[in-house]
Symmetry: C2
Subunit: 391 residues, 2 copies
């Protein structure tokens, strides 16, 4: 049952498509401001379900679910980008507010369109080209004569949807693996570092940008984010300039993330996400106002908060289901981690651990990167299956 709650800026209820950890962390901020939350997610026990006022248990292609969400929400947002754009478009046409706008989502959701938009706005990106047939790939390789990335234009995440073509023999396998349609080719980039920048844009065009984060991936899944990133003053200026341009390019309202390569080939954008991002979790403990709070402020029309760091440095480390894990989730090491006063663990509340599944994260803050690295090296939080293992 829904009870009367106060209205802020003509908004009482925020609808969120997706009830994972990103949705959960958004809700924790929205609840401080007293908003009501409706979540659409197929998982009855998704991380957001227990703190949502209404949980619509529906798939991301379920039209009835979207309609129900729209009916009770004053503004609709989303925690991931692989959702049904056509349905959101219909909601927008009916007069519902979707933020970031469906236009920006539609462009970003398609990696080819995304790169084309970035290029058009003078933002450096790796060389890329559309590829629709096996012949396209073979022609490209015959001319380029060097390895390349084959990517699905839609739906990829955590390395899924990417295929490294090392030579002529890989082409057909890659083409088939990625479903043989809606593909693009991207050149391989020489980079030393992967960094990301989180930024939030208000409807007014006001934009706040967070400090640059340096990311390390393991098996294509984010392992750690370190802030500040070890980049030169020149690189820093370039990255911040690019981040501002990215926010202008899509004209989105809300929190976005730009992932960039930094190295010999210069600074270029790898990917943009129209949403709060794993590499921005550090902002909860390390910045005045987190990426989640600023997202909620932006989509509800409230002024944006300061992105200043309150600490010298921070590291965020993901807690991910290890090899072969499959069963009821059990964490170890949290009690030990809390012996360090600047460690903060986040447990998403997923009951089942699976190999590669993001189960939580830990953030350590301190005066310097060296200091936080030392503390983190003494922390070992793991999430394993309690009662069964894959063999």
């Amino acid at each position: 049952m829904l009870y009367n709650i106060p209205m802020i800026n003509n908004i009482r209820t925020i609808g969120i498509v997706g009830g994972g950890q990103l949705g959960k962390m958004m809700i924790l901020e929205a609840k401080r401001l007293g908003f009501r939350i409706a979540t659409l997610d197929p998982g009855a026990a998704c991380p957001a379900h227990s703190i949502s006022d209404v949980h619509i248990e529906a798939g991301f292609e379920d039209k009835e679910g979207y309609l129900k969400l729209a009916e009770i929400s004053d503004v609709i947002t989303y925690e991931f980008e692989h959702i049904n754009v056509a349905m959101l478009e219909q909601l927008e046409q009916k007069g519902h507010t979707v933020l970031p706008s469906v236009t920006s989502l539609k462009i970003i959701q398609d990696k080819l369109w995304q790169k084309q938009a970035l290029l058009k706005h003078g933002i450096p990106v790796p060389k890329f080209t559309e590829a629709n047939t096996l012949q396209d790939l073979q022609d490209y390789y015959a001319a380029a004569k060097k390895p390349f990335f084959l990517k699905s234009r839609k739906g990829g995440y955590d390395g899924k949807g990417n295929y490294l073509v090392r030579g002529a023999d890989d082409i057909e396998a890659g083409f088939n693996r990625l479903g043989g349609k809606e593909l693009m080719i991207e050149e391989l980039i020489n980079f030393d570092k992967e960094v990301s920048v989180i930024a939030t844009r208000a409807a007014s065009g006001e934009c706040v940008i967070y400090p640059i984060a340096e990311n390390i991936h393991k098996s294509s899944i984010l392992d750690t984010t370190t802030v500040p990133a070890a980049v030169s003053a020149k690189e820093k200026a370039q990255i911040m300039d690019i981040a501002a341009k990215v926010m202008e390019c899509f004209g989105g309202v809300g929190t976005f993330c730009a992932e960039l390569f930094v190295g010999k080939d210069g600074v270029m954008v790898n990917e943009v996400a129209p949403r709060v991002h794993n590499t921005g979790h550090y902002t909860i403990e390390a910045c005045r106002v987190s990426q989640f709070e600023n997202h909620i402020r932006a989509i509800t029309g409230l002024g944006l908060g300061s992105t200043d760091m309150t600490v010298g440095a921070a590291i965020m480390k993901n807690i991910i289901g290890g090899t072969g894990q499959d069963g009821a989730a059990k964490f170890t090491g949290i009690e030990a981690a809390y012996k360090f006063p600047s460690a903060s663990a986040h447990v998403y509340g997923k009951g089942e651990v699976k190999e590669g599944r993001k189960m939580g994260h830990v953030t350590v803050t301190g005066g310097s990167v060296k200091e936080v690295k030392t503390i983190l090296s003494k922390i070992n939080i793991e999430c394993k299956a309690e009662n069964k293992y894959k063999i």
Copy 2:
């Protein structure tokens, strides 16, 4: 329905007696760590209900409610002290964990016993004495010949349960007003300032103490809390020493608050609350780890976090239902407040505003008290009744 969630330190579910704003803010921290929450509160639409996994709609004297809460909770805590100690005692005897312990709650809940305990531990308090009959009061006044405070030993808050006896003519009226039993007499104190100190104690005895907060009450209800308090170095040392002794005195596990008078008569403890406190709301934005997070850490056996301030100064101002307000709650001024990047509004989510009801608060942070005062003077958040007024 309850789903499997990971266990931390043998705890899955935290039971909270009371679902008001203090409970809500505890839950927002507990949820980061993935705990399941069960709340006992008579209000179906209480601030905590929408973020609790289980809401037991039961009165604070309802035995069945307490039993149900205990059955599903691994640890039980409370957000206010005027609850049924006998029932909690029974739960403790049955082997359930209640933190802070029922022993400390029992002593603190009775203002006479509380003061006796403080006195016994060498902690300065105003002179006080038990008073059970009208004759006791008349005898006291005949000897003292000066105004005094008459207080109910149990159940008072926000000035309720206190009666200022100005002269002989007031004695009978005060005695009757406060129900004519379980009373105590307290001398009037000359004080310049009311301050409070929040502290959290772990089961290990480890204790962390927050900076001293200076409080201004209006009509006996807290209006603002300013940190740091404008006290001398000598007073500061005394206050911090007293705060540490208070935490030892009750041996409680969790967050406590000591309210003190500072002035000509020295520093003395006015009152202790065995719980998170309105004067500690500033810790959410201004300190590394808030009073709410440290409370959750303490009662779940996790190490305590740093109480260091991340800003030079902070002011918290309560948003309270004004004179004659009674109806559906409507806030104004939140959008305007958010033009200041260091302002943070909290809306508790109570649907109905009433005169004197705490509806939310706003915290402003900055470099100095002067700076935050200037910002706060430009902020005017109000909560009024939307559709009806008392005449």
